[in-house]
Symmetry: C2
Subunit: 409 residues, 2 copies
């Protein structure tokens, strides 16, 4: 291993360059190596040779938080312009004639994205079009947002036939489909949307449902970190044939602020926990009821107990990508899910419809409390009209973008 990859403390790194940049030396926690690392950025490490990369998280949370905020401050120039608007970690976009957000049916030269989305502060994502439409109407009521007479909410991305997007003043509510690739495509395009619209310091939330581990159905879990099916807190992704790892970190301060908004009067628990994110709903989550299963009930329970002992409180299918990509973009984010079942007691969701409906509203309520409090503090609760519907800059390009979005996979 070349000595450029040695820390100042003399230790060889057993981690990827990205992990080094993000987490520091895994022995002395020093980040003094960052500069040297960045100079080496072109000589990317083949992560496959370093499969034993280990991510050590500091044990003291206060200390970690402080360190982390200093680290974020130090990295700010990569992800923000001086006025706080989102900067992309991609030098190519600025050089492009136009940037088509294929899966959103929007484009940088077809749509006036600054006028349409410049006032966005919050992006709330959920699984299905129906759930995010519900949230859009709910948050509209909660923040007292008024639509002009004779108008209704429009699915801004209807011509993508993939994701649904609703805008309610400073809040975007977008469906992300199922699984890491689906939420990943969306995040790339929404982060670019933030950049094109010159949005300042946006905050992203994922609200959803999940399986609980050792906690009652109906419990709200705010994720403190996401781990994969092997309990690794990183998103692995092959890029140009090499395996990259990105830490799946969420904002601990935001997590605690959300937790503080849980009310003593809520007839359910709201807790902070570790979330396991899998690539499969059946075998990937140790279920017995998929098309395939070559393990026993005992094997399954041993696995779930092991996962439980490692501190995992819930399992879903998107948080790893959501955490890793927002963290990489320097965007504050949180994952808030309600458990539908305690997997230590069974796999089947048995609560009746009315109960499930009420459970599903719980993450929405918590996120809504945060948004309301934020807007109250900033005096932005009464908003007047950025245009929430389409503002066409070039009709020809507008049409083209709608067409192309229909066809891209």
């Amino acid at each position: 291993m070349p000595d450029e990859y040695e820390c100042d403390c003399g230790v060889d790194f057993r981690a990827t360059q990205q992990l080094l940049e993000d987490m520091g030396c895994d022995v002395c926690k020093s980040r003094g190596v960052q500069k040297r690392m960045r100079l080496e950025q072109e000589k990317r490490l083949d992560v496959q040779q370093h499969q034993d990369a280990v991510v050590h998280l500091p044990e003291n949370m206060e200390e970690e938080q402080q360190e982390y905020e200093e680290f974020l401050d130090g990295r700010k120039a990569q992800v923000r312009y001086p006025d706080g608007t989102v900067k992309l970690r991609n030098p190519h976009i600025e050089l492009m004639d136009q940037d088509i957000l294929y899966h959103l049916a929007l484009g940088s030269e077809s749509h006036d994205l600054v006028t349409m989305f410049g006032d966005v502060k919050f992006v709330v994502m959920g699984g299905t079009p129906k759930r995010v439409e519900q949230f859009a109407y709910y948050i509209m009521q909660e923040i007292g947002h008024k639509l002009p007479a004779g108008t209704t909410l429009l699915d801004i991305s209807q011509y993508s036939y993939r994701y649904s997007m609703y805008k309610v003043g400073p809040v975007l509510s977008i469906s992300h489909g199922m699984g890491i690739p689906s939420v990943g495509i969306l995040l790339h395009e929404v982060i670019k949307l933030m950049y094109h619209a010159r949005v300042k310091d946006p905050i992203f939330f994922r609200i959803g449902t999940c399986g609980g581990i050792g906690i009652e159905g109906g419990t709200v879990v705010i994720s403190e970190e996401a781990v994969d099916g092997m309990l690794r807190p990183v998103l692995e992704l092959p890029v140009l044939g090499k395996l990259h790892s990105r830490p799946a970190r969420l904002d601990k301060k935001l997590t605690r602020e959300l937790k503080a908004l849980a009310s003593a009067e809520d007839p359910y628990d709201t807790m902070i926990g570790k979330t396991m994110c899998t690539y499969d709903f059946y075998e990937g989550q140790g279920r017995l009821d998929g098309a395939f299963c070559d393990y026993s009930d005992e094997d399954k329970m041993a696995f779930l107990n092991r996962v439980h002992e490692s501190g995992v409180t819930n399992i879903e299918m998107e948080s790893l990508s959501f955490a890793a990509l927002t963290h990489h973009a320097g965007i504050k984010s949180a994952v808030v899910c309600v458990t539908l079942v305690d997997r230590l007691k069974g796999d089947q969701v048995l609560a009746p419809k009315e109960v499930l409906n009420e459970w599903q509203e719980r993450p929405q309520k918590l996120v809504s409390r945060y948004i309301k409090r934020y807007l109250q503090m900033k005096g932005r609760l009464s908003l007047d009209g950025h245009c929430g519907s389409m503002c066409v800059k070039s009709p020809r390009r507008f049409k083209l973008v709608q067409q192309e979005s229909e066809h891209v996979d």
Copy 2:
């Protein structure tokens, strides 16, 4: 390594047990070890210790095909009942009181699945609800299927708010969303649907769009195999904390039959090729226009050229899971995609709407020719009415399944 994992030829296996079962010894190609391997099935290997697993495919295609068919025959008892109906590789399902197909909004005891789906022969999957609805109407016309007066096609899974499913006689047309996890969930449930409905030897197709590598936009590619972003022909999946690998194999005979149905009069090429399947649309496919990009245009081109040289003709996001899970279930399957762009020439899709619309119909046409020919040969072209709409067995359970499907992630 314990000597149970040695082949009769004396070679240590450097592969997972599943690969051994499916592909034979990677040196002598012997499958004589299968029996011994199966006895060892309970002692699952930790694949992580065997990251250097290599899958060698025989070079002679004819020989391989024959070997493969023998192999499939030998495995038939695992995946078929004597009458040819689908058998699950999961002993738990038979013991369950009911099996809810959450993401399809169907259930084994709420719906009369045999009456609803017993006549299915073909399952055709595509990305978006819109595309599979179009295919449903197209195939209806092509096979001359008639609906009773006063009826129209219904989205059978509308209450799942996730996938859309249309039934036209022996053909199911279902949307799978984007990415490996999304198509994986669907496949688990559709394979179980085949089992519950007692379908005999179904044939699955995925039709879609993709990026081409070194071939003109509008070319139809029938996948001969799927590889991941590291060019490995396997789907990797953590199961109970251990990494499993499943070969992503497609039916070579079906592939060639489809190729033979390409007409000399088609104003486009139809070819057989290797398909790369990625977990991400942007960095995962070497694009320069994602929210993140830390490589240059030259890096990208070097990667795409390397991929091209390895025989990859196109890139998409679902074939790996589609191939691996159908193969594991012993279901004949094929992936037919049309390229929208030659990635060696650029990333942007520039063809006008009318052209893209026509391109998108090409995989539909090829699959439709196969289905028509099959039905003609079997004398099943004029079909009379299994009920294509809902047949409710228990109204109470029917309602429950609709409710629960709304809430499961």
